[in-house]
């Protein structure tokens, strides 16, 4: 049985952290699997030595394994990992600026930087995402800016966890707030945008014609505009949902890419059900199309 000294254990943990960092973001390999393979390799190589393993003994094995950064240097990486690496120097600069601050500001900033650095790598992004969200709540007028920043950091964390084949676990409570709010707003905007143009179109009916149009629609002149707006909105939204659900039936990965991680729960069968329901609403809408055509003809003729 092999036991590592404390110093050797820290050395190994650092090295495995480098392995994770070097291979994550490469879609062609599994970072978790490589990390486990390297761990197994180290223990197999040290089996002959046996007993308590010191840092120099471990270092000899790790030297033969080589620097992880060179293992997959030529392979394409994901955009999130690429951005992460690009942003790392910015983070280091920020820490350097904090160190340059005077007095209490320096102490506070230094404490914060130390805490972020001290977090486990798995929790770092999730903690930053929640920190930005909380800062937005405190400095409320700036909430939208902090929310968007938090959303992108949270998405990076979700993407990295997926690439490593990990589940978010308890980390999800730190990344969900910003992901949920932004995803909900985006979803509502994407689902209901046809209502705007439809209502705008209903305002095109001239005031002087509302009596004649009301007769065709069998409603009072006052109800012409709201009824027309509702009719047009139902038609536009149901048609849009037919198109959107057909896209999801054909490419089921679209919701997952737009609204991670919640969108990945939407399956092809869910999209097919929405397609059927939207189709049914659209067919009902079409049953009244003759009235809409007559109204359109009346308006165009009068104009």
């Amino acid at each position: 049985m092999i036991r590592l000294t404390n110093e050797a254990q820290v050395y190994l943990d650092d090295y495995l952290s480098d392995v994770r960092s070097a291979v994550s973001g490469h879609s062609s390999v599994s970072p978790a699997e490589i990390e486990q393979d390297v761990r197994d390799h180290v223990f197999a190589a040290l089996e002959e030595t046996g007993g308590q393993i010191t840092a120099p003994q471990l270092a000899a094995v790790l030297d033969r394994l080589g620097p992880p950064a060179e293992w997959v240097a030529d392979e394409p990486r994901s955009i999130w990992k690429y951005l992460g690496d690009k942003l790392k120097p910015v983070g280091h600069k920020a820490v350097a600026h904090i160190k340059a601050l005077p007095g209490e500001a320096y102490q506070a900033g230094r404490g914060l930087a130390a805490r972020v650095r001290g977090l486990s790598p798995d929790w770092r992004l999730a903690s930053i995402a929640f920190g930005l969200f909380a800062l937005g709540m405190i400095a409320f007028p700036l909430f939208p800016a902090f929310l968007i920043a938090s959303y992108f950091v949270a998405r990076a964390d979700v993407a990295l966890a997926r690439e490593r084949g990990e589940t978010l676990g308890a980390r999800r409570w730190l990344v969900y707030p910003s992901l949920l709010i932004v995803s909900l707003v985006l979803f509502l905007a994407l689902a209901a945008w046809p209502i705007g143009p439809a209502v705008g179109l209903s305002h095109e009916i001239p005031r002087t014609m509302k009596g004649d149009v009301g007769n065709i629609m069998h409603v009072s002149p006052k109800a012409v505009q709201p009824v027309a707006a509702t009719y047009l909105a139902i038609g536009a939204v149901s048609l849009w949902w037919i198109i959107a659900s057909m896209i999801v039936v054909r490419w089921p990965g679209v919701p997952g890419a737009l609204f991670p991680p919640f969108g990945s729960k939407i399956r092809r069968i869910d999209a097919a059900i929405v397609l059927l329901l939207s189709g049914a609403v659209f067919v009902c809408w079409l049953s009244k199309i003759d009235t809409a055509v007559r109204v359109t003809q009346e308006v165009l003729w009068q104009l």
């Binding site: 291979v23 190589a45 033969r64």
Partner: protein
């Protein structure tokens, strides 16, 4: 300058044949990751960083060239053994063919130059 060129050339050469060598090592047998690395390490100049082998194995697994099995070990944690799949065997045969063609071609060039 000449040394840089030679280093770069050997690096490129090694990268290309390492994947072939990993598959070749697994031909007709099931091997533990550490065993694969040790066997490849016996080929002079082939493996400079032993860790390079593991991303290749991970990629081969994802591509369906190899499959893995966990086997209990008396000496420690369960060991993960790699073996070729039918797809991996086919790919290895193709690589061997390509390798032999290149080797024969270069040998004939060298013989021409020597004669």
């Amino acid at each position: 300058m000449e040394s840089d060129f030679f280093d770069n050339w050997t690096t490129q050469l090694r990268k290309g044949i390492l994947e072939f060598s990993v598959l070749a090592t697994l031909r007709g047998r099931r091997l533990y990751g550490y065993d694969i690395v040790k066997r490849l390490g016996n080929v002079p100049g082939l493996v400079i960083s032993e860790g390079t082998v593991y991303p290749i194995l991970s990629r081969f697994k994802r591509d369906g060239f190899v499959t893995t099995t966990l086997v209990e070990s008396n000496e420690g944690p369960a060991r993960k053994y790699y073996e070729l799949t039918p797809v991996g065997r086919r790919e290895l045969a193709r690589m061997r063919g390509a390798w032999q063609a290149v080797r024969d071609g270069i040998d004939s060039l060298s013989e021409e130059a020597g004669s």
